[in-house]
Symmetry: C2
Subunit: 229 residues, 2 copies
DNA sequence: GGTTTCACTTGATAATAGTCAAGCGTCGCG
DNA sequence: CGCGACGCTTGACTATTATCAAGTGAAACC
């Protein structure tokens, strides 16, 4: 059940890569892996937080639902990324729900086992802190964008993020359904759709799940433009 | 320069409380404390992150400024709270700027010294992770609120948060200027002002920096009401 | 004491995003 | 093949929030 590719992902993951192979094997085994269908829930908001998770393949979304049923996606994690360390760490309840957005394979690591390992190998603590720090930064970024950028700019910024290091003319594939991206960016699908239509004249084209950018620098300039100019 | 009250704050702070007194003394001394005026900057966005901070008294705001000059306040920390652990930990640059919003006294703890202490006493790592976990949760809360609540609801929710455990009829003092609160809640001062006027009939009154709530449960019901009902 | 400054409020108006609903294309399925 | 289901787009309209600007009151300063 744990393929060689899985082990590669584990060894490369930010949170476990500092663990010697033997310790890693002691922490995880076949039973730690769960295959989940699209739409299946890994844990509900409010469940006791006893483990954290690492995505081996697929995509898992973390979201919060308010009493009225509206959903806010906090983040979507892909292969090699870990989530819920913080909740597991505080030992209370998960403040979000986790649900697979495509068929996925997810490994879970129990709080107790991990705590024992950390006590015995402090370097793991550094890796965990680094991982949590990155999550913090991602959230700070998200807050800033929500407050400072218009819907059009958030969409443009999102596409730039997908480009990674590439600049100039770039073509790319959207990582998931547009309605999910819209929620992630804090807007409605209809607004997302219109935003794409509006940034078309920046040299951005999105057809189906394929996107192309004529020149990343033009898009970057648009994102950095503040409201009053 | 370090008063007995300061030591009490240090010993109670989430991040240092697990440190034995001797180790604490080794980490901090009078030179670690800085008094800063209102408006004075502790560090700029982009400065190399070599330390994290703990507020002894006063208030410090963390904010991001985009190229156009618009500001997004990420959080405001008060006495006993620590910030920038994550940035210090990643060792890159501060992704935000820190500025005193009132005259404050702030202690800074150097990355190198702390790393040595953590290596030697892993339990500190747990305390740091707990602290970072709490910050993560705060940010997740904030994102959810920005996405799911209207301006009026965010203001109501903010006031409820100030009530703490108290329920029923509560009177309280706003922690800082309304324009700062407005920014923190992701809205303009004018919108904040109007929001307060609108929630007046929920039994909420704000005059100057004094606020009173006739019945917290009515306000809570308003916050939990989703858009479509 | 008077003036300046600053934070806040309020009004009129504009921009932005949400709502509701219809229509379109694709995919899967009986 | 034809039928739905679903995700996306688009249009018309509404609601919410921002913008600009004027005005108020209180503290601060000479």
């Amino acid at each position: 059940m744990l393929t060689p590719e899985d082990w590669t992902i584990l060894r490369k993951s930010a949170i476990l890569r500092d663990l010697p192979a033997g310790d890693l094997a002691a922490l995880v085994d076949e039973r730690s892996v769960r295959s989940i269908e699209r739409g299946q829930v890994l844990f509900q908001q409010g469940d006791p937080a006893r483990a954290f998770f690492l995505v081996l393949s697929g995509q898992v979304k973390l979201s919060r639902v308010n009493p009225g049923g509206d959903e806010a996606i906090v983040h979507i994690y892909g292969s090699g990324e870990s989530f819920a360390e913080a909740a597991m760490f505080l030992g209370g309840r998960y403040p979000v729900a986790a649900e697979a957005v495509v068929a996925s394979r997810v490994m879970h690591i129990e709080s107790d086992a991990l705590r024992r390992k950390v006590a015995e190998r402090p370097e793991i603590a550094f890796a965990m802190m680094a991982s949590m720090s990155r999550h913090l930064k991602v959230l700070v970024d998200q807050i800033e964008k929500m407050k400072l950028l218009s819907a059009d700019q958030r969409v443009a910024e999102f596409l730039l993020g997908l480009c990674g290091e590439k600049t100039g003319a770039v073509t790319l594939t959207l990582p998931h359904e547009k309605s999910l991206i819209a929620n992630r960016l804090g807007m409605k699908p209809a607004t997302f759709s219109r935003a794409i239509a509006r940034i078309r004249d920046l040299g951005v084209d999105v057809t189906g799940n394929q996107a192309s950018i004529r020149d990343t620098s033009a898009v970057l300039a648009f994102v950095n433009r503040s409201a009053e100019e």
